[in-house]
């Protein structure tokens, strides 16, 4: 059975390609362009996995993670270059994984699959 994934990234290119990749891999994917939209969508509907960029305007991925009212089982964070403080905060908030951009798509799919299994 397919699982729901929320993809959060302010960068349209990244957001759209991730949606395409995960959709073709059989997930039900919902895009969100920033932290506020992500929180709204997560509040409206539970997701199995959230894949989220750390560096976003107004609200960082780590801040969104800390603000989730009903945190889904797994949140995968992405970053180009994360400072130590953000990484520590992400771990404290039980992020499932932190992926360094650019990453291999196969690696992404494996992480998402593991996260989904963990959520099951």
């Amino acid at each position: 059975m397919s699982r729901s994934v929320l993809v959060v990234d302010d960068e349209p290119g990244m957001r759209e390609t991730l949606v395409d990749i995960l959709t073709s891999a059989g997930y039900i994917v919902t895009p969100a362009e920033d932290g506020a939209a992500a929180l709204e969508k997560a509040r409206a509907q539970p997701y199995d996995v959230i894949i989220m960029d750390i560096r976003m305007p107004a609200m960082t991925g780590v801040e969104v993670l800390a603000s989730l009212e009903h945190p889904p089982p797994q949140v995968v964070l992405m970053t180009g270059y994360a400072v130590d403080e953000q990484l520590r905060s992400a771990r404290e908030n039980n992020a499932f994984a932190i992926m360094q951009k650019p990453f291999q798509v196969s690696y992404l799919l494996r992480i998402v699959a593991e996260a989904v299994r963990g959520a099951a």
Binding site: D10, G13, M14, T17, R55, M56, P57, G80, Y81, P102
Partner: protein
Amino acid sequence: MRGVRLPTVAVVATLVAATGGSSWLAHRANHLEEQRLLSERASEVALILTSDFAGLQTQIATVAAETALNGADPVAFRSASSALTPASGGFTATTALARVSGPAGTVRYLATTGSFNEAPAAALAALMRRTVQAGPSAATSIVIGEGSSRVLGLAHSVGVGGLVVYEQLPLDLEAAASATTTSAPFHELNVALYGEPTQNQDALILSTNEPPPTGNDVATATAPFGVDTWLVATKATTSLTGSLAADSYWLILAGGALFTLVLGFLVETLLRRRDYAVALVAERTVELQDSVRELEQAQEKLVQATRLAAIGQLASAIGHELRNPLGVITNAHYLLRASVARPDGGPDALRHLNTAEREVGAATLIVSDLLDYARARAPVTGPVDVADLIDEVQSVMPAPPEVTITREDLAGLPSVFADRDQLRQVLLNLLSNAYEAMPEGGVVTITTDATTAGRVRIAVADTGMGMDDEVRAQIFEPFFTQKARGIGLGLSVTKRIVETHHGTIAIVSTPGGGTTFTVELPATGSEEVT
């Protein structure tokens, strides 16, 4: 210990020479004055003697004249002679009238007023003959006798018949000696009287001191008596110029020595102090130079560290910004591969290619920004129509749908002297900043104006989120950014371009109240344009 310094030696030597010279001159001057005074005194003594002789001569001449008038009458002679006695000063004069006759010059008394022998002594006879031979009314003198019985004999020729008037006065040696007591005139002198015009000791008549004056410091003066000339020789027994004048050269010497000592000491002290100060300054200078060197090394290290930190900051910023497009391109490649494997995957493949191409563009822009920052280009200037350039920038970077642009252009705005490409980059940066400040939409107002100082003002105002003081203070710093995307070089590059155009850029912003960037550039033809 170091020796006495050369300037001190010079000062002391000069002063010693000056003191010695002054002392010698004073001594010499005093000596000359002493000589002059002594000479004067000798003349005075001789003058007094001459005066006394003249008195005696006048008296004896009077007797001689009366004797001649009375035909050498012995009674008349005695009568005339009586006027001579007693002489002043208690002398008792003894007189005689004698005749010198015959070829042998026989002398015979005609009349006497004292105890004379029958015939005059040989010395007296010789005197009388000499007087007659010397001519009518000639006068001569002689001192005869020994010790306390010494007498002064004066002879005067009557002028007729070989007659001679003779007078003899005792020589008061005690009175002569009393002349040396301090109350007497000439007490400071050793005076000797000679019966000849030379200091022949055989002719010495009397002297106030024993021995009579001899040597270099003797002044002489002559005192004539009739056909004879006597000599007065004087020598000072004490200083004639006074003891102070006499000792002045010693005083000068002592004072000079003292002054030399004090000044030498003073000069030496000052020199030593100066040397100490110079040494101290040299020491401090070396310390200061060391400090400066250390400081320079520290600064160099700091600059090196700062440079490394800047490189690190730059590398991380670039790395982060490039990883995003690389990540998208990686994803696009994955999707592209899947699309081309499908028979109907053409449209999807094209879409993914477009995505990849867009991301390559984004990466290229980042690299361009970086190069713009790293390699500042000198502006190639020319007149630029600002309104025209703003039109172009607006067409290159149209406003997002939710943003409105309004223009307030001054009619007849002068052109600016600028590098058109660089000024376009400035305007693009300001405009894109304005758009990004208003994600929810708003109004961008672009105003152009001319200042009274001959400058063109371009203001770009947004109605966006604005910024606080802390952010505003750092807004032109390289690598400072509040955006999720971008390496934070845009405004830094903008500021630098404006400044290389001799312009200024200012910012007014309040949180929630929007931001206005104002650029001022020299107008074409203004004096500022170089």
